[in-house]
Symmetry: C2
Subunit: 375 residues, 2 copies
């Protein structure tokens, strides 16, 4: 993997870049649709190519439990398994160990937990995570990190950060295949001094990119923005910067303005399955009664196949009948919305007008949502 | 609508035909995928065009309750609503009145029942069914009929048949738009004398086609085959013959050999959502453990996009994870299987070898299924 930093915006810290991988180039800023279990819920790889998704995210923890490393090795990794020809980034499972219920013990060695599939015990150590990511064959691997709630006390946040650092070095040592890039994860909660310390420690080691972890887990939007703005500046400009698990379109607009290159978030697909659409004027609940009387597209300014083909009253009908075509059509729309936001952002940076672009987009969303998206 | 009867098979009563409609021609024998609520579960019209489905079936009863006639009239009927450019046949709701739970009263006038959506009372009379089918704008409408279990006593079967006849004439009188074809439904359970009487009565009136109703509702495969063979011969050869709600691939192979032109059945889509695939060698449960160790296609001789793209271990994974892409990919496969069976049957009739073709296909299925599909 090779990252080439490109044009910088005139009025913000936003920047363009290109991530070159053996499976194609990813123009940044880039959004990665989430395909946790080697499937972006309800969509085929052909759908995702039509949407021009440049890269997908999958999850080491879930793929470890099902289908497991043996199947993945046999079929040539996740690309052969799900038939996706473009790059894949795998999260390490650190966030799942932190967030999923069930008894697990985390020691210096790693996490031990029972499979939710068959109850069998598993060890997820930094080395085991890298071994599993090797079986998955992802183009970009993430180190196993230790997550805590952003609202935890400073001592707990510091302990988690320091263990994250030790695990990052073990992950780096465990990597065997240099063709798989490895990103480290900066932790430190919402404590500026800890974020500085974490960035300083990790950037002293030869990782291929750096992520900001531990955000959007109990922090406010203002805290998230402050930490993002602070931490991005601490990362080397020659390498890609990835803000993990964030966020809403306003979150993305802000973070791009800070110089973040990569994003992933479950919101576009999760909210689609719940009947909520992202539109140019904010969120729309498809099941609102008014949509039964509206035959125009969900978003008249949207060029996705859902908006070009179907009317609101039909989408309303599908959701009211619990027909699975509804979430499928809305997933297409929401992912297109996110991917188009990235295309528009890249064009604005290229034109040197990103700051004005982001301000206008935020104003349009906020005007319609009345601050609803603020966490 | 205009039906042109084509070549007849040399060794069976199978026949080719073409149903000309204002929305395109349907080559017969034809299978109609079921899109009860203006959606073939999980699939887009584009998917169905890729499968080359020539015509869909939708349901008057369900569309009456949701979205209702007002929405359908506003958007130009079901074609505008679901964006399907090819013909649609609507079942009248007779079968739903018979089969759905909940209190309903059926009198000579029609059926009265409460909506499962909002509890509001509805009258479904022969005239109301035609009015709703006019709002739907289907290319082929069905008369409202009275269904009973095939195992009901002869008196009940006779009463239902006679009321079906009176309702058929009321439906014919209620039709206002001659561009919408209207098919009558031959009833009479598994009693040969009643089937003869029903066919004689209905074929004396100017319907555009004739269906066999009341089969696959408690009858055995042998009874169904006997009645199909008997009843098809009683129908005019110049008009299309439609066997409603039937059935498995062996059922279709048998009925085509009797001279049936049209079919619909929920099996390919329903079984797909339950994880069962139709293949050239019979049914396959995708969730069988052996599939986790098999990376080849579901059916090596199948040309559908699912079989050309994905392996069994991936389909197994999707179903084990309850991922909606699994049923979607299996629906594509199962519908392709049914539609390809029809294409193959038409080619065999054209070549005058349908009897041998059907025998070979049945033997292949029976050999693998060991009689499993026999009801």
């Amino acid at each position: 993997m090779r990252f080439v930093a490109g044009a910088r915006d005139a009025g913000s810290r936003a920047r363009r870049g290109t991530l070159h991988t053996s499976r194609g180039a990813v123009e940044t800023p880039a959004f990665m649709p989430v395909g946790t279990r080697a499937t972006v819920t309800g969509l085929t790889p052909a759908d995702l190519l039509t949407l021009d998704a440049p890269i997908l995210l999958a999850n080491t923890y879930h793929l470890l439990l099902r289908p497991g490393p043996d199947v993945l090795r046999r079929v040539g990794g996740i690309h052969g398994f799900m038939r996706w020809p473009r790059p894949v980034l795998t999260d390490s499972g650190g966030y799942q160990i932190f967030s999923l219920p069930g008894d697990r013990t985390i020691t210096e060695r790693g996490a031990r937990f029972r499979s939710y599939v068959d109850g069998r015990p598993h060890d997820l150590t930094p080395e085991a995570s890298i071994e599993m990511q090797a079986a998955i064959g992802s183009d970009i691997m993430m180190v196993l990190d230790v997550c805590v709630n952003a609202t935890s006390d400073e001592g707990a946040v510091r302990d988690a950060m320091e263990r994250t650092h030790r695990w990052a070095l073990r992950s780096l040592a465990a990597r065997k295949n240099p063709a798989q890039a490895l990103f480290a994860i900066v932790q430190g909660g919402v404590v500026p001094a800890l974020r500085r310390q974490s960035a300083a420690f990790l950037t002293a080691h030869p990782f291929d990119g750096f992520a900001l972890g531990g955000l959007a887990v109990g922090d406010s939007r203002a805290q998230r923005e402050d930490i993002t703005g602070l931490a991005v500046d601490l990362l080397p400009s020659a390498l890609p910067r990835y803000l993990m698990g964030v966020g809403t379109p306003p979150d993305l607009l802000y973070a791009i303005g800070c110089g973040v290159d990569m994003f992933d978030c479950v919101l576009p697909t999760h909210l689609a399955w719940q009947g909520t659409a992202f539109t140019s004027t904010g969120r729309v609940r498809v099941t609102r009664g008014a949509n039964n009387a509206a035959d125009g597209p969900l978003d008249a300014s949207c060029a996705c196949s859902t908006c070009r083909t179907f009317g609101r009253s039909y989408l309303y009908h599908l959701f009211k009948c619990s027909e699975p075509l509804g979430p499928r059509l809305l997933s297409i729309h929401n992912l297109h919305h996110y991917l188009q936001l990235m295309r528009d952002a890249r064009a604005a940076i290229d034109a040197g007008v990103y700051a004005e672009f982001a301000r206008a987009r935020l104003a349009e969303i906020d005007r319609h949502e009345h601050g609803e998206v603020r966490a």
